[in-house]
Symmetry: C2
């Protein structure tokens, strides 16, 4: 689709301008050609490292003039192949744009460059009694989290990027720079451009700066773990907790396979390999106590036993670190195998049934997998392990995923709660939104008429078009 | 801009199809030609009353084919002239699409037609222990609230339409029907079409159905009023309450003029005409007690005296009814005068200063006005009263508004927190977002190439274009 000569020309102009900040080194290209979980590696022709919004604008003007693909790259932690350079061109690595520009304790907001990572920001904020709430697990860049509309463990209480980004600075395909808003907590000023770019996966513009909403560190925090006799009972406890409006800060499910993996990997010898809920409560001291009592009573009524408290910060960190390392714990079950992660999200009342059927499909297909999820939102993940020696394992896994997505859509859910479309879910997007995908295409054409921004992502090929990415 | 013959042709086709459900009666047209607060009345050529999404699609196919303007109309409570038919054409009155289609107590969601009003839905929900949280004061239609991205008194805790609409059914300009999502609490499936249509003021499509997020009625509710010696001290109390992360459900400011008006109109003889905060707390019994104690201590430390409790539902309703009737209370100060409402939103730390300067401008201009606001979000309103006998009062008011908007933008705020752009704030939108308005125009052209959807709204005329609406 893209003219190789045009790409070569863009690269030579960029190289003249950026010198050593443009790399054609195979290792650098290879590193930028893949994210996590999605198996494809499609290296760009070069990687360029801009240091300011103005430099990004300059790069896009050059690439737009030549017709050269541009793939934004943050920390490389996306899971659906969003960073793969399937049409070649330039990977735009924003990791040098990592300055925290402003933090306001009075207004609970911050302004950061897109390459700042979540943990970097939270380290800076902790001493001021503040935190940034969106927590997808990985130490992703905030620009990447915006581009994929990330959520995570405490979205059930604090919302995701959709709710915690006040405004963006975005460079458009032709190099124009747009600021989508200011510092107001809300605005009704025209179309919601902030939300339009959130989740657009680099296909509508390159996010270079973010204005974020911050939260005061809660006065009191308590965590708890509670094992259940069965997965269904654990999920029922979640459903009832949500229905009662108990404002849990996190409520996470790990199934027995995942618990087994995590107990081994994260040295949680004191826990049992049974379906387990991890809870966290935030608020005033009395509110936390009240929430925890109510959640504990609900857990008990569903067979949960030994609601175990972790009030000390140290112990809480140990538990949540284990939860965050769940993916790596699953990977460690079979060294040398690779992992793949699903991501459907359904109405919470359908959750138990959906999880049960996913487990049954995995068994039918003979696949080793763990299940875990942000169950308060109805979002769950299958982490499947693939033996590279069994080439048909990938096909069996795709079949499991197809069934999971079809069931999720049939009950009003979505094919992706938080990982996005990228390369992996284009057909599912079409199945989910139909005509809506045409609306997205119209917007894409209006804002990026030459199609240089992250080509091959989100949109399934039109009839007659070759698929941009070969199947893995 | 629009060919009168084309409009006439569309009307005759529509009349043949819809019979008595199309009205050309002058009183009906007049009623549909104006909202609240904005002075212009621009009646459509006819009003049509569809009863289903399919009928709306049919109307749009006809109007699209002919090139006839279509102005969606809900309850007519918008404040910036959004319903004025400045280019003639058809007003699409959705009030007959008023069915509540589905309520799920398990999943805390509902599906409603666009003409259902906020109070209608909440009456239906109350017996099920649920509520819909977005509360702009007026008994607006939910479709209209979506189209203007409404917020209101408890947005500080529960969010606005942006946060409480899960998905929409939208009819596009050419009659295609799009569903923007399903029932999942969150999704990363492609561009956020739901949020794109929220706040588009009928210029991108006609919202015909909404999937809404519901909340369980809180276990405990407490309300309080607290007068302060000065407006600055009241605002300082708000700022500190927000900074402490106390999850107040509502925190509203009424200045002394507004209190004077409300005491008279809503018969609040037990209150004093001083700057006053209205609070509401939701949660478990202990959490509510804890929040209220903390907020009360903060209020006292800023000179607030007599933090007065209203735990009984009856007394709470009386207080909040008074708050909701504030606009009508202000209007009643001068029978026969008309009211106009401003709507800036600023970072909360700037609020006291912005309110003080607005008050000083109003005095300089000799205008009678009250000030009130959703101060937890930094959003405040001036309700100004205009003597129809003083033709220059309007000019003086516009000058006050210009200064308020300029100051709000200078400190990172927005020209509109919740009322939208409509006819009234087009220049302010340009001042606020600059190049961003070009992005909006590109999207508008892509989705409504003939420009039939609510023409003349949001976008300032391009150079050489005549203004669509004459100044009032």
């Amino acid at each position: 689709m893209f003219d190789r000569k045009a790409i070569a020309e863009a690269l030579s102009v960029l190289e003249a301008r950026f010198g050593a900040r443009l790399s054609r080194h195979p290792a650098v290209r290879e590193q930028h050609g893949r994210g996590e979980a999605h198996p494809l590696c499609a290296p760009p022709d070069a990687v360029v490292f801009p240091e300011s919004t103005e430099e990004v604008a300059e790069i896009l003007r050059i690439c737009h003039a030549c017709g050269c693909p541009v793939v934004p790259y943050g920390a490389g932690t996306s899971l659906e192949g969003q960073v793969c350079a399937v049409a070649g061109g330039v990977s735009l690595d924003l990791s040098r744009m990592n300055r925290i520009l402003e933090v306001s304790e009075e207004d609970l907001d911050a302004r950061v460059e897109a390459g700042v990572t979540r943990r970097q920001l939270n380290r800076e904020l902790a001493s001021r009694g503040l935190f940034f709430s969106v927590d997808p697990g990985a130490d992703a860049s905030l620009g990447g989290m915006a581009a994929t509309r990330a959520t995570g463990t405490n979205t059930v209480r604090y919302g995701g990027m959709r709710d915690n980004v006040l405004a963006l600075t975005v460079v458009l395909a032709d190099g124009r720079v747009v600021r989508t808003g200011g510092r107001a907590r809300k605005s009704a000023a025209g179309y919601d451009l902030t939300r339009l770019f959130l989740g657009s996966e680099g296909t509508l513009g390159v996010i270079t700066e973010l204005r974020l909403r911050l939260w005061p560190l809660p006065e009191a925090v308590a965590a708890a773990v509670c094992p259940f006799p069965s997965l269904e009972e654990a999920v029922d406890a979640v459903v009832e907790t949500v229905q009662h409006g108990i404002p849990v800060a996190r409520i996470e499910l790990l199934d027995e396979r995942q618990m087994e993996a995590s107990i081994r990997y994260s040295k949680l010898a004191d826990l049992e390999p049974r379906p387990t809920l991890f809870y966290e409560f935030h608020g005033g001291a009395r509110a936390v106590e009240e929430q925890a009592e109510a959640a504990s009573a609900i857990a008990q009524s569903h067979g949960g036993s030994g609601f175990r408290w972790a009030r000390a910060a140290e112990e809480r960190r140990r538990l949540w670190r284990a939860r965050h390392d769940a993916y790596y714990a699953a990977l460690a079950l079979r060294p040398g195998w690779r992992a793949w992660v699903s991501d459907v999200c359904v109405p919470v009342s359908k959750l138990a049934d959906q999880v049960r059927q996913a487990r049954s499909d995995l068994e039918e297909m003979g696949l080793l997998a763990t299940i875990l999820g942000h169950v308060g939102d109805g979002n769950f993940h299958v982490v499947a392990l693939l033996d590279p020696e069994q080439p048909d394992a990938w096909e069996r896994l795709l079949e499991v995923n197809r069934r999971m997505v079809a069931r999720a859509l049939a009950c009003g859910g979505t094919c992706t709660g938080e990982h996005g479309i990228g390369l992996g879910k284009q057909d599912s997007l079409l199945a989910e939104l139909g005509e809506g995908v045409e609306v997205m295409r119209a917007i894409k054409r209006a804002l990026d008429p030459r199609g240089i921004l992250n080509p091959g992502k989100i949109f399934p090929p039109l009839a007659g078009e070759p698929p941009v990415a070969p199947g893995p």
